[in-house]
């Protein structure tokens, strides 16, 4: 940690900071400069210590800025887990040689709609079926999902088709219930910092698919993953799904594709891209899914609906079954370039 003092900070102010560091068991290194003084703490602080010290020192008189010289996350960091994390979902491996495609409708609307979706997914060669039973919706007047009935449909269709499933859980007290019906727990972008939910998902041990919040920094995203990891669950996937956009005339969000190589370097966890929410427009899904593969992603999540016009939510970004099938073909055609299987 580096503390930069204000220009004109008094000796006493400098000594007060140095003393606080000593009081915590570290030896400060005072770096005098012509214009201002900096103080270094040449040691790896524990996470608790670094946070507490930053807060306390920031509030001291004469202090201009406190800079951390290490990242705030630990369990989510590749520095502590060198090799790629490969997550085993009932035998299907995510984060390894497979490029994982998760497809399906935004919402589970009925047994028929969801079965048709599953059959199209299966026919295309994808292995994981997505669908929302509990839907977080911006407006209370929008369709909120079939809830428990949706979960049951999902489970039944999974049993009938042999596909793996992923669905969203919106609050900590629902984790146990949702975990009974699905293979992967999705934590949505709006819930990325729902800490009670993160902790319960961590305790469940189930594979967790964590979406990045629209204004979350990389550090905040990895710290959210850290909550799950710290609760004892190493099976976390990171999903980039678009960040807040200042121009929404053509896309709903800004898909931050450079987050893929950034996350792959900073962390050992698998990285999945969601070009459907990332762009919000069906016609941009295919080029961005392909770009995600080349940028180093471990998979994509794509919305597909057997009849997008009839979709009860997010119809404008869902692919038809035909376009989804073509996307799978394109991913397969591109996969040798990255040395992966689709």
């Amino acid at each position: 940690m580096i503390i930069v003092m204000q220009v004109g900070a008094t000796d006493e102010q400098v000594q007060n900071v140095a003393q606080l560091i000593r009081d915590n068991g570290y030896e400060p290194l005072v770096l005098p400069g012509e214009g201002r003084v900096a103080i270094g703490i040449p040691a790896s602080l524990s996470n608790e210590m670094r946070t507490d010290m930053e807060v306390r020192i920031s509030a001291m008189e004469g202090v201009s800025k406190v800079t951390q010289t290490s990242h705030p996350y630990k369990l989510a960091s590749r520095e502590y887990h060198k090799s790629n994390m490969v997550i085993d979902v009932k035998g299907y491996k995510i984060g390894g040689d497979e490029f994982a495609v998760m497809g399906g409708p935004c919402s589970v609307e009925s047994y028929e709609q969801f079965l048709a979706s599953a059959q199209a997914i299966k026919a295309s060669g994808a292995k994981i079926l997505r669908g929302g039973a509990f839907k977080p919706r911006t407006s209370p007047y929008s369709f909120q999902g079939l809830a428990l009935e949706g979960l049951k449909i999902m489970k039944q269709v999974a049993d009938e088709t042999g596909l793996l499933t992923i669905t969203e859980v919106m609050s900590g007290d629902m984790v146990t219930t949702v975990a009974e019906y699905t293979d992967i727990l999705q934590i949505g972008a709006r819930s990325m910092q729902n800490f009670p939910l993160l902790i319960e998902a961590g305790k469940s041990g189930k594979p967790v698919f964590l979406k990045r919040g629209p204004s979350a920094t990389i550090d905040e995203f990895l710290l959210a993953a850290e909550y799950v990891l710290n609760a004892g669950n190493p099976n976390v996937m990171l999903c980039e799904r678009g960040i807040i956009a200042f121009d929404r005339a053509y896309t709903r969000n800004t898909l931050d594709l450079s987050a893929v190589p950034v996350l792959k370097e900073a962390s050992h966890l698998p990285v999945i891209v969601d070009p459907s929410h990332g762009t919000g427009v069906a016609k941009y899904v295919t080029p961005m899914a392909l770009a995600a593969m080349v940028a180093g992603a471990d998979g994509v999540m794509v919305e597909m609906h057997p009849n997008p016009k009839e979709a009860l939510s997010d119809g404008s970004q869902a692919l038809t079954t035909e376009v989804f099938s073509k996307l799978m073909d394109e991913l397969r055609r591109l996969s040798p370039f990255v040395g992966r299987n689709v």
Copy 2:
């Protein structure tokens, strides 16, 4: 609702959209243009209808853009509730002639710390005491609050000092518990779209203090309020607390002060400004609190700590008791300009 077709959309595509509108019981108005066709629906759609129609039509072939001509919120709108909402918290009125100041530490750390805070708040003339018992923290390694013990300290100190209290609740299943110990339920910025929590807070009937998410639009913010209102609770305060900043070198967030007149015009609900989180820097709190009053806010929430250097969280933005007291004096000196009491 206005549907703009793509340049070159076929007659059949135009007719399909028109037919869908008719199928839903409305008469479409087709506006031919030289370059492209627009279709209007000259009626006030219900909220369910407008959302469903937008989703369906957006997914239709030949459609370029769907524009809503009315706002998506209703109960939160001044169009439906002309006069200012005045919320009665045990006899103290928020949203009327009083300019409400809510002060106190980020976290309840101990009985002694919280009592000292309360006494300073009371001495300054403020009426509402804030303090966190459950703390949402970006890092799992940061202090997470005293939880139930914190709530009990808060209640005890409130009883001893006669101050009103506000504290955060982080999940729906905790609403009933937290509501027993406090006068106002705070929903934090990270929870603005925690819909199960919003619904439970709505059912509780308690005054709700809703913070704007860092990347929430005005419409999304008011729709979050709509969830609470729609669950039967008219007592909602809106809090602007800073939006996501692209420059964090000097302030932690960007305080969006023009949101105050915007919200006051769009909605009847009281608007409170939090300059402590809004700037993240103690020295900018006073000028921004004064600016908030002049811009039309109904109150401010300000962090104060009897000893900011010892604070377990957010110390760098907390005012000392002396500076807080001076802020109260300044607000009092300014209050005649806006015709309010402090």
Copy 3:
């Protein structure tokens, strides 16, 4: 154009808007609704007319919002120029089958440095050499480029190696001079709305490489291109080079890669991606360059320096000659997927 009136707008206010439309020679379509009235203008307005009408009507009493139903650009639009624009730079075609790679150092620093760069570019198989003679720098104390001497070095090196060149021009009065020494005029991100410069670049007839401003919307970007096109120069390339980021801890900007399919659909102009400025970090350049190719870009601009450690500007994002050469190999290996030549 659609005008949405406020709830409660009077008949007189509605008639005033309708009359203004009639006064300008159009027939308004008034769409009554239960809650509010909308007024449509079913015609393609000229660009001058649409802008003027929007300004005037927005200021009228009772008006809530004016929505354009068509895009504000015309010459830059694919609606008016269906096929891809292919730009001929001394026989090398940009926007067609070739995937154009522009490489070279941020700044021309000396004859030796620039010749070494050019030789590396040529050896790698790239055809276009970039280098700054006039450097826009955030700080007045940073290296500002060799100016005219830099242009002369560039020309000499181009003559000796047979490479095409591109360099930035920063003001309208320098267009003629810079155009004498280079094959493509670059307009930098900070100059995207330097309108006198755009007009002069338009008059020059030279191929223009226009970088998107860090906070420019797609419409603003295409309108900047429209300035050049409107001055009589059809040879404009659009360059996405990263937009303003709220998280700068890992990348300098946010590379907006979905802008590629958006721009390719909205416009016929070639689209080039600059992953060097887009990320600001050398190690992320290769994955993002590959992603750009797959997303549909017509080329990339990449910073390379024979000795990045010695670079006088932007060294941290420049590739070494070895890494640049490997990037070319990777692009070549990927090119069959998109059916282009590198």
Copy 4:
């Protein structure tokens, strides 16, 4: 300057960085840590040196991050110029006891329109008349201003009314011409980093009114001012006029009002707020102008038009003469609070 090495950086990499620092005449302080090494340079580097060193070191192997411990601007900094800068414009002092109000239409449209504006400004008690002769417009099809004719009208009206004037100059080669006709040179938001223009404005010695770019950080803004100051002109005013917004449904930009206390602390230069462009909506101008005064601004720039409906540009944000006059009354009523004259 602090250099943080990567975890696992080799001793040789650390020594290479230390050696480069020594080669430049400074003594490095190596701070070993358990996890990673940091290296400090305990000296005030010149601006040239700090920039060069940052670029070179950032590109070295094993380096994770380079952090500057001082601000990159010098002449614009309050650290070097303790007292407030008071700018004398023909005897009228900006930055001192006066709260400067600059009012007038977006564009000079005709002698009659501009004279009517000037008379309203004068009657309201404001002293400075604004108006654009050269208009930077997003679209080439929008009204571009009367150019030289506009300047002549401005000068004539100024002579007739005794008001001071301010108008925009868009390129370096026009500075001399524009300076003949006006008292203050305005550099628009889009030109904030038009460095040739900044340098020419600096050479002119005329008071310069510098608008912040929509995505400019505080450091970038002050470095733009530094260009003018460094060219020998100490008379620079800083104008906050709204930054890029992610929500444009209610305001055009986000007025960053906390930039006022930030800039007043960081710099000695006067700070002016433009709530007209900052919000883009006439009805929000008055509350935000009042808030600006209380936040510590030295003045405001406000658009006013004798007939907003007829305005050739930006009519929707212009105040009528009546509303402008009331704003002046309100500012006058508020001024004792801040101890200034209006």
